[in-house]
Amino acid sequence: MKSNYIKTTLSSLRTAGWLLLCDIRLFMKDWHNNILDALFWPLVLILANGYVLPAMGMPWDYGAFIAVSMLIIMASFTAWSSANVLASDFESTKSIGYELTLPLSYRMIYCKIILHFALKTAVFNLITLILGKIILLDGFSFSNFSFIKFILIYSISCIFFGTFALWAASLAGNVARFMRLELRIAGPLFFICGYSFPWHTLHRISPIMGKLMLFTPWIYAYEGVRVSIFGQLEYINYWICFGMLILFIILFGIHGLYLFRKRLDCV
């Protein structure tokens, strides 16, 4: 009985692996467009924040700060736009129905979708860092860069963005509602939760706002990635960021799975 369960689980995992490989192949096939998508916003905003705003009194290294913020916000938006395609699929072609008749459980399909979003998000947005260095030169220092810490927090952040985007698509169920969620809630949250300022600055100005911000997951993604690139400095402790992101992945993941099943009415 137990060996049968293990055998079935392994075969389901292999099927999920092939589905993921197919997704990877599809987004890699369109790599040039995906890279272009990841270039323009960071290009414009790093230029403005690296050269224009310092001339207006912002710190000289503000461009580097924004370059790292751009990495996170672009990752959020990439995952979000991938989920937009899924929300459209929920209401029209329902091509996900094919996967739901394959020999694997809907839970594995759910996890596969999160990994697909996370991988697509992670791979193409790394270009933001390279772009930041090219534009800002000495204004973007990697002297405190920790590769291991960066890979860990960046991967976990992308998994969170994938989880959150899938949760939102399952909650919305169609493109119109999904867009409304973006305009009214997700978009503003992506920006307000630490895009343009570190958490300690907000906490210093308004301790209440600072504490409220700790209930949002994005602040941990922004701060954690900053620590891995700039060093610990005054940012939120790296391991707290890491732990909180895992907690949010679990919370949104479990609730998202419930919504996903309800939305698709699957077995």
Partner: protein, 244 residues
Amino acid sequence: MNILLQVKNITKKYGDHIALNNITLDLYEGEIITLLGANGAGKTTLSSIIASLHPATSGDVLYKDKSIYKDLINFRKNLGFCPQKPNFADGLTVREHLIFAGHYFLLDMDTINSRVNELMSQFGLNAYADKYPSVLSGGYKQRLLIARSLIHKPSLIILDEPTVALDPHIRRQLWEIIKNLKSYGVTVLLTTHYIDEAEVLSDRVCVLDKGNIQLIDTPANLLSSYNKSKLEDVFLQLMNEGIN
């Protein structure tokens, strides 16, 4: 004939609406059975429950005497499902669709290659091997859907309105393909609202109306018991009578 699949007292409710009402139905090995009914009769709901795409509110589906819900993965390994709307991945060619489908069922590469070549020839898809499904005509999209669902040699294939919105001559080409499936020993569950299709293709016809099975029999028996020359007349009489 041996029973392959049993639908036992399946009810499906959406809120207060009863889409299927206590449906019981047996599917025999190697037959083509058609679910016939008007729009909203419950054909797609029933076929998608049998395909394990959606759960029933109550009741069970047995595959070779075992509840499919107790061993869903193995049931799905024996199932091929063609949905009403083509659901292809953008960016995969016809051949790639079949190759990936083979991988999803964990076939080895040699088997995949031989199955892909076999199915491409069988369904006349060789000329379109490197094309994207989006450029195919409706009939060829359906051929690809059926071919994809057969890659792992399932014992049961469910075709949900495969000829809807197709030109008459394309429909007839697909009929030949569906009839040929029998020669491979596949059990075919076909849903349609085309009565001529049911008459030509089916070993048995199951008439559904408002979530209830009105009757199940062979087309020949239905014609003789209702003393009609066309299945369409039997169907119309049934709908008019609202048989109990």
